[in-house]
């Protein structure tokens, strides 16, 4: 087991004279045995960051260390890591057993030990009954388990997951999420998990690293990321529906600095008889809750109410007031959180 350290890690692709910088200096420390989720929209560089840890992409600048070794110049197989790919990348012509054993065979592990390790991993993942099958004879969920098994048998210091759940259906995804959590509790191996799905990120992460356009926006526990987002990007990316961000809000009335952006989550806006005057645009019933989309002046915002609250008529005027102490303030130019509030 090992910690992972990023020191000002930069990735750029040079094609001729134009240099395309995709990761702008990431600094982060991941503790021994920690489960960290890297989350962000597509194209934010999260997969690139993971692939740099894996050794599949060259690190342009900076340093990545695993344990106390700088791994910049090490081959992927020398880094003591194992990776689960999005489409599993199982060898199609090998049986499940051979798929899991291949890395160990190359490392010249004795056959008896290979067998013991594969059997143990197969038992943990409940894939013992189809060790002799070929990947094409397995379902998506089973392939996913084999891919995880291949990672486990190597007994690595670090697990890398590159969106491993995105090819599964919703039910299987939720189930596999729980299994990954359980696996991490049992094995306690440092894990880096890339996803664009905020539910996966919130549920799996001990700490989550939110990325946007090659920049690390926030690196903290899911609670802190949700309750105290560091930037307007994090505020609008994490949470569904996203946080309301208002530029023209009556800041002074709520004790905020002038010109700052006011952020308030939909569940912290309460309909009532006084407060902000809103025009109702649409109302959506989602089952246990109801979303009221309304306009304050010309800014749109969303209010989350429970299903027992009567729905306001579309086009009518309602009043809403934010829960005190649940307001967020962001600098209007940098988008960073203002801590005074």
């Amino acid at each position: 087991m090992a910690s992972i350290t990023f020191k000002n890690v930069v990735k750029q692709y040079a094609s001729g004279k134009t240099v395309n910088k995709v990761i702008h200096g990431v600094d982060a420390d991941i503790g021994d045995g920690e489960f960290v989720v890297i989350v962000g929209p597509s194209g934010c560089g999260k997969s690139t960051l993971l692939r740099m840890v894996a050794g599949l992409e060259v690190i342009s600048e900076g340093e990545i260390s695993i344990g106390d070794r700088v791994v910049n110049d090490l081959e992927p197989s020398e880094r003591d890591i194992a990776m689960v790919f999005q489409n599993y990348a199982l060898y199609p012509h090998m049986s499940v057993f051979d798929n899991m054993a291949y890395g160990l065979k190359i490392a010249k592990v004795p056959l008896a030990e290979i067998k013991a390790r594969v059997d143990k991993a197969a038992k943990i993942l409940e894939i013992g009954s189809f060790l002799t099958r070929k990947p094409r004879e397995l379902s998506g969920g089973q392939r996913q388990r084999v891919a995880m098994g291949r990672a486990i048998v190597r007994q690595p210091k670090v697990f890398l997951f590159d969106e491993p759940l995105s090819n599964l259906d919703a039910k299987l995804r939720a189930q596999t999420r729980l299994e990954i959590q359980k696996l991490h509790r049992e094995l306690g191996i440092t894990s880096l998990f890339v996803t664009h799905d905020q539910v996966e990120a919130m549920t799996l992460a001990q700490r989550m690293l939110v990325m946007n356009a090659g920049v690390m926006e926030q690196f903290d526990t899911p609670e802190v990321v949700y309750n105290r987002p560091a930037t307007t990007f994090v505020a609008s990316f994490i949470g569904s529906p996203p946080m309301n961000l208002l530029r023209g809000a009556p800041n002074a009335a709520h004790g905020g600095p002038p010109d700052a952006i006011l952020g308030v989550r939909p569940e912290h806006l309460n309909l009532g008889n006084e407060g902000w005057m809103l025009q109702v645009d649409t109302v959506e019933l989602l089952g246990a809750e109801r979303l009221v989309h309304a306009r304050l002046g010309d800014e749109r915002l969303t209010i989350r109410t429970d299903e027992a609250t009567p729905a306001p008529a579309v086009g009518s005027t309602v009043h809403a007031r934010p829960t005190p102490g649940r307001l967020h303030w962001f600098d209007a130019t940098t988008g960073r959180r203002l801590e005074s509030a």
Partner: protein
Amino acid sequence: MVERRPLLNVLSHLVLIVGVLVVAFPLYLTVVASTQTSDAIVQAPMPLLPGGHLIENYTAAWNGTGGGSGAKAPVGRMMFVSLVSALVISIGKIAISLLSAFAIVYFRFPFRMFFFWAIFVTLMLPVEVRIGPTYKVVADLGMLNSYAGLTVPLIASATATFLFRQFFLTVPDELVEAARMDGAGPMRFFKDILVPLSKTSIAALFVIQFIYGWNQYLWPLLVTTNEDMYPVVIGIKRMISGGDSDMQWNVVMATAVLAMIPPAIVVILMQKWFVKGLVDTEK
């Protein structure tokens, strides 16, 4: 065209039967002629039913004791020469093409695309176009009348290289990355993953190249002057020489039938692989 009409059925079967007859009749005639005496064949019309001299004609052909005034190389020896050449050509072509396609697809080296296009351009140059200079080179190297002379100039294959390149491009990158994670070096990846995945393409190419090698005519005609090194296709040609009078057509036909058997066996045996490759794609 999908509906069933008796007239259409009759018509389509008629077309098919005529087609089969056109293709199969010369073959049938060859087989019939190989069972007659040479006197019977030169009569007009020649008999269209098998005669009773099958065993003696084939023995004569196999041992080279028939053949009249033409060359009298034993077919056994010629078949062996053909088999060796066809196998060396097909296996050599596949080995070299696999390796060069591997280099072009998976390695980043200077002038990579130049080499690819250089190989690609040679697709336009069949053996016949470069036969003069190639003969000069082979002759100067003293490779006339040898297996090397028969096979080496035919081994390089742009077609097979191109085919394997196209196949390798469809192998997902994640497999390469997974293999790197597992610690497989380039040649290990090639041997353990790429070659097994290419099995069906290799089988298909083997059939095509074996027949190509077996049916070589112009090139062996130039580089072999010694009866010992005649491939069977050339052997047939050399048997037919001079006037019609003394020609033992029955033995020539027996030789032709024998020459047809190995390619047919290869096609029939490898057909299973084709079907297998088509039914369950390993990707």
